[in-house]
Structure formats: C-alpha cells, structure tokens
C-alpha cells in the first residue's frame, strides 16, 4: 500500500508543529521515501527518541502502509 508524501508531512506536522519536513520519493513509487525532519522538540533527545517521535506521529503506519521511510532527524541550529 502506498502513501502520499503530503500525507506523511501533514501527520508529522500535526504532532510536531514547528517541524521543517522535506520528503523525497526515492523511487517514484509512493512507497520508498526519505524524510529529513528538523524540530525544536528533538533538542536533548537521542536519535532513537527522535525517530520514535516521528513514528508516533505516523500513528502505526510505519512498517505497515508505509514500507520504507529513511529518516534523518535533528534539532535546529541556534
């Protein structure tokens, strides 16, 4: 099952309103994405915690409808 990039972005921003999200559809098949997410909410969190926050925002879709989302996360530079 494929998922739209705009939908991914919307879900992430619902949970992390300040997030800057850029999404790339790696194969143009709507199933393999790479996302770069920058949010102040990531400050002081480990990478695992940051990714868990994004997965939580996607509410169970990761690993199901969404097969592949390569993630890179970080806090904004001061």
């Amino acid at each position: 099952m494929a998922m739209d990039a705009a939908m991914i972005e919307r879900l992430i921003k619902e949970s992390l309103p300040d997030a800057q999200v850029s999404i790339e559809d790696l194969r143009g098949d709507g199933d393999h994405y790479a996302a770069h997410v920058v949010s102040g909410a990531f400050r002081g969190k480990t990478r695992v915690q940051q990714h868990q926050m994004v997965y939580q925002a996607l509410r169970g879709r990761m690993g199901n409808e969404l097969h592949a989302l390569a993630l890179q996360t970080g806090a904004p530079e001061d």
């Binding site: 990478r47 695992v48 990714h51 868990q52 997965y55 690993g63 199901n64 390569a70 993630l71 890179q72």
Partner: protein, 110 residues
C-alpha cells in the same frame, strides 16, 4: 505482549553482546535494510548474532513492542537498543558506532 516472547527477547540480548534482529540470516539477508546493517557490522569485524524474524513470527511482532520501534532491522549492543538501519548507518558514518562498540568493550577490527 506475551511475557514468554518478552523473556525470549531479553534472553537473546543479554546472552550475546551484539544481536541483530533482521529479515533473513547474516549470510542471506532477505531485505536491503537488514543487508546494509550486516554489511556495516562485517566491515567493522564485529561478531554478532542474527535473529531471523521471518522464521519466528512471535519475535517479529514482539520485538516491535519490546523496543517501541516499528521496523526491522534492530541492533542491540549489550542489551541496549541502538537503532534501526538509518541510525546505524548515520552512526557508522560519523564514527559514533565504532566508539560505541569500544565503550561497550566489543572488539572492532582496527
């Protein structure tokens, strides 16, 4: 989650210093993301145990709850969850993965 499955996972990650929950085996990975982590560990000369979740549906489901992580592969070092493919790759590129193994007393090829 089934206590029995949790216990099996706990046993796995405490009995062996480096454990990779993956699709397929280290010799025949069944997924590109699992293969990528195997390649990094092999490159570093780190000894690890691969647990094939495809041949064990209980573990496949159980590990996701255990680590609160929705995807496979998952790397554990000395009982601690390190991350999935993206994190392992990023840590390898920055040298943090090598540091982590050294800190945890896991031999790495120089």
């Amino acid at each position: 989650m089934d206590d029995n499955v949790q216990e099996r996972i706990r046993q796995n990650i405490t009995e062996t210093p480096v454990v990779l929950f993956m699709k397929g085996s280290p010799v025949f990975p069944q997924c590109g993301f699992s293969a990528a982590v195997v390649q990094i560990l092999s490159h570093l000369g780190v000894k690890f145990k691969g647990v094939d979740v495809l041949s064990d549906p209980e573990i496949r489901q159980g590990i996701k709850g255990f680590s609160n992580w929705p995807t496979i592969p998952q790397l554990y070092v000395k009982g601690e969850f390190v991350g999935g493919c993206d994190i392992v790759r990023e840590m390898f590129e920055t040298g943090e993965l090598q540091q982590l193994f050294e800190q945890k007393g896991v031999p790495v090829r120089a």
